[in-house]
Structure formats: structure tokens, C-alpha cells
Amino acid sequence: MDTLNIKINGRDYTVPTGLTVLEACRYAGVEIPTLCYLKDINEIGACRLCLTEVKGARGMVAACVYPVDRDGMEIVTNSTKIQEARKTNLKLLLSNHDKKCLSCVRSGRCELQKLCNDYGVDTVDAYKGAMNQYEIDDSAPHMIRDNNKCILCRRCVAVCEKNQSVAVLGANERGFNTHIGCAFDQDLWEVPCVACGQCTAVCPTGALYERDETDKVWAALEDPTKHVVVNPAPSIRATLGECFGMPIGTNVKGKLVAALHRLGFDGVYDTDVGADLTILEEANEFIERVQNGGKLPIITSCSPGWIKFCEHNFPDFLDNLSTCKSPQQMFGAVVKTWYAEKNGLDPKDIVVVSIMPCTAKKFERSRDGQSAAGVPDVDVALTTRELARMIERAGIDFVNLADEEFDAPLGITTGAAAIFGATGGVMEAALRTAVETLTGKELESVDFKEVRGTQGIKEATYNVAGLEVKAAVASGLANARELLNRIRRGEANYHIVEIMACPGGCVNGGGQPIQPANVRNFTDLKAIRAKALYEEDANLPLRKSHDSPVIKVLYDEYFGKPGSHKAHEVLHTHYQPRETYGKDR
């Protein structure tokens, strides 16, 4: 490896070539503050917080874009001159910022607030003058946009365009009037936003945030006429601990269940049951399409952001989508039908709360065709962040909770369901069941390692009972677009395709705990979080969805067999084409 010898703050370091000043300093253990920088997708040198001095360079340079390109380079990152420059820039940002920090959803976790603290910028009115006043955009079911808190870092614009190829957010107008918005300054829900919430996960301030629905849950929990059940998605156990200062990638399943018990839910169940059920239905649908000449490739339908993206951008692929509801919706549907009948409950009196890594789940639950019992399958979909807020407010000492188990009858799940939270997980789970069904033989190894990992697009071919099964997996909607375009152009063909809207899958969903950019840029969040799920899978006694005793009961008592008439009524749904460019409705 080629290296360069440089000086950082007077000390000698040897660093690899090809780094920016920011990366080289990070390599040497020196952190430089940033607000706009997102590695690979937003390297624009705009916020001027990363100003550093490089000997010989004209003026101060933006560390995030300035290359370390010569031996003997001398970098200073923290002189008083630099500190003063950063302070001035923070004051200028504050001069047009809604400083109602007390009531801000991001207070305590705001990157701007933290830097102001770090740099002692307490004179919030250092520069008085005109301030922009923006209407709050609360048109979307999943999130709120408050431009009064926006610092124009464009991190949201970058994830929306580069990672997701959705590009509904951009910087409109110029100069003092510059603001983040949609085409023709329409509301977010009038344009083809897919509700993935990736923008809310990267916003450094409180300008973009999930629609908080915790009040609905508090009210239901206090209502004696309501039977309130909760179910956390597979990936929540791999991420919730981060909200309480635990290391990234800690599996907190037992504490999560204990906390939900303490919040007072009548039943604490596992969305993984919904995931196992999804696999039975989806594997059956796949086999039927293969055997009866149905539409291939079959494309998974668990990710509502992906579904809306497909409806907007690939309406010609709607028949490829599996008609299976997502695990959240299957779980809710089972509770409002089978569970209600079994327990003598009126579905109207049941409140299903799901804990999701995803903002799009808030949209999904209100879609057509998601009401098996005539009432919505799911009543409230909270994000991981909202659940953390409830646990904090309830005064539960999360970190020190003793592990507890999910409740019967919807608490026993398999490793196949556990890995639903990571890209490739649904594919692997489906293959475990589909292959055993097709061959009639038990798999020697249930590991389909070719579809694991965080690459954007993965391909694998498996020989199953004489059939070459071609599989592809994509995560991140820009990768999904690329993959579908290849299929559209006839350059690739597959039997089965898994798509998750968020890069890396649900572990990196838009509703997951917010990690500041200085962590996000230098940590592979999606890989570390996913590892927790694959470990859970490896350690569970049951690793194939069709081995789950809960699933057996559900089919024996209620659905008969996968793909039955009853299953179609309760567990399947439909899709609708939407406008690609213009107004959605």
C-alpha cells in the first residue's frame, strides 16, 4: 500500500494515499466536526464546519473534500483561528434556525446542538436579521418536514437521490430563499415519495422526523375496553439498544420483551410469526408460479417503501410482486381473525401496535386491502425511535432489565424469520422452505451464504430438484432500479428476486435509531446490525419457517394449507399503478 508521511497537529503520521484531510485525520484518531458530509454521497464542502489549516494552502480548507496528496503535508485541526471560524459558522447557521430546542424531537441528539455545545456557542442571537418562516409539511403519513430547523446540509437530498433514486427532495430557489422542498413546492405526499424515511435517519437536526404516534398507544393502553397487543419486527432487537447507549449490534431481544411487558401491553408477541407465515405463503406462491407457468420472477413484497416505488416507477412489474402481505400486516391480520375468534374478542376492540424499523409501515397499514377482518390489520406502527421514547418516558431502566420471553401463542419463531431484517434474509428464508418443499428432502445445510452480505445487488443460482433457480437480491432503491432495468432490458432473468427499500435492509431502515454522521460515515451500521440477526438465526433451535409449531397450529386450525382460499382472504393483498412523475392523486 502506498503511504504518505504527514503531520497532524504537530505529530507525525503515516497514512494511506487517496484520503481526504478528514479521512486521514480520522485514520490518525483525530476527529474533525462536520454537518453536511456523508461519505460517498454528500461530499460537497458546504457547511464549512470541517475547516482546517493546511500549510501552504490558501486560507482554510474544507477537510471533507481537500485531498492529502503530498508527503510532508502539515495539517492543523484545532488552532484558535480554526475554532473561531467554526464558531462564526455555527452562529451564522443559528441566525436563521428555529431555536426552540426544548420541544425539539432531536434535542439531545441534534448534531447542530452538540457542536454549539462543544464550541461554546451560546450567544444564539449573535447575528440578528431576517429569518425565513416556513410552513410545516405534515402531509405525509410517515414523517414531518420542518424547514425552519433545516440547515441546508443536503444530506436528505443526497440519500433520496443517490441511495434511493427517488429524488423528490431538492434545493429550491437560491440565496437566502434556498430551501429544501419538492417539485413546484408541492407537499411531500403529492409527489412520488415512497415513505422510506431514509432522509429522517440522516437529518442532523429536527427538520425531518417520523410522525410520532406514541400518544395513540398511551391512550389505548389506558382504555379498559381495548385489548392491546404489540409485536416488534425482526430487526428491532438488533438496534433498540443503541437508543440506550448500548454498542451497535447488541441483540436486546429479552430486554425488548421485558420493556414491552412493563409498558402494559395485553400481549407481547413477535412479528417474526408474521415473517414465518409470509415465508410459507410466499414459498408456496413461488412454487405455484414455477410449476404453472406463472409470472416470474416473483418479487418479494415485505418492504412497503419498495412497493410504493414499484407502483410509481415500475408499474409493468406489479404482476411480478408477490401478493403476500408483509409480516407486519400478516401478523395484524392473524390477530384480528384467528386470535380474535380464539379468544372471543371483537376485532374492533383489539389494538395491534407494531414496532417497526420503517417509516413506510405507517403508510402500509393504511393501504387498501390491508383489513382482513373489516378493520385495519394494524392500528399503530411505531418506529424503533418512538418505542425508545416510550420506554424513556415510562421510566424503564432498559439496560438493566432481565430478559423475558415473548408470550404464547404468537411468540415462538424461527431463525428464518430472524434474518428478515437484513438484505438477503427473506430470500434465504424462502429458499429454506421452497427447496425442502420442492425436493421433499431435508436440507443438509440451511445456510444460503451467497445471498448474505451488504452489497447492493447479489446474484446466486441454486440447483433445486433439477431446476436451476436463479435468485437476485437488491437493497437500496437505486440498486433496485438498476436490477429491474436490467430485467426490463432483457439483460438478466431470474426466478425469484428480493428487494428491500433501504440499503442493507430493515436493520438500516428509516425508522431505526439515529446515528450521527461521524458514526455513520466510519461504521458499517448495516453489517454490524445484521450480524446480530445472523447470530440469532444460528442459535435458534428452529431455523426453517415450516418447522415453527405456531405456523403448524395456524394452518391446522385456520388456513388449511398455504395458498388456500382462506389464506388468500386474510394474508394476501393487491397493488395499484401510480404516477411516475406527476401528482400522485
Binding site: D137, G170, F184
Partner: protein
Amino acid sequence: MANTITKIPFKGTKEQQEELFKAIDVYAGQSGALIPVLQEAQKIYGYLPYEVQKMIAEKLQISMEKVYEVVTFYAQFSLQPLGEYNISVCLGTACYVKGSGNIFDKLQEKLGIKNGECTPDGKFRLDACRCVGACGLAPVMTINDDVYGRLTVDQLDGILAKYGFGK
């Protein structure tokens, strides 16, 4: 944010659309195609309303917002059509110190439109401009090719009436 789709109905013709598509074909596939396409489109239609930006987005296969952010960044592009009568009030230094700001404000009030907008009937459009080179006549306003100098706010009703305002 106020939605900026103009209330004036789009009157684009098939011929204009064909011309636009021809212009897009010239640039499509090149990097940096958007700005020349927008310039051509504005030449064809006189402005860049929703319908035109949508056609451009579809043809170039980019999102509407990617088009809109460029349109709103550059002063050369307009979201509003030209009116039958286009009023420009000079807000350059000389005119401004002679009170053109008041004239501009009064016109906004009378016409019920803001800078760069067109009245819903398509009759008048109002723009602030920078120096028409007649500083000796400050404050100056032009309506199409007619020039009005040494203006006072009181004269506005009479001038607008000549162009059928209020009828």
C-alpha cells in the same frame, strides 16, 4: 411552502410539443443536457410551467424535482407565462431612490400578484427589473414597449386603465 403551480391554464399545442421533443432529442443522453433543454423549452413556450417540466422530466428520465430545482435557481427561467401586457418596474438605484419601490408595491396590490407573476386572466404580468437605461426619467416603468417616466403612484390607475385594467 406555497405550491407554485400557476393557476393560468396551460395552452401548449401539439406543434410546440413536437418542437420540444426534437430539442430534447438533440441533448438527451449528454451530461448537462438539462439547462440547454430548459432554454429551448422556454423559447418554445415562453415559460416553464408544470406541464412542460413534466414532459422534460419524462423524456430525460429524471425526477420533477431535479428539473424544478434548476429552474428556480436561475433567474433566466420563469414559471409564469408572459401576460398580454408585461409591466417592468425598474428597481435600480436611481429609480429606487426616486420611489419606484412604492410604485412596485402599489402595482402588486392593485393587480393582486407578486413579482414574476401573471394575473389569472393572463392579461398583466409584473416584474421588477434592473435599470432600463433611462435613469434621467426615474422612476421608470415599461409596459410592453411603452415607457413611463417620472412616475408617481397617483398616475397608476390612469395608465393601467389604458390597457383595460378594471374592465
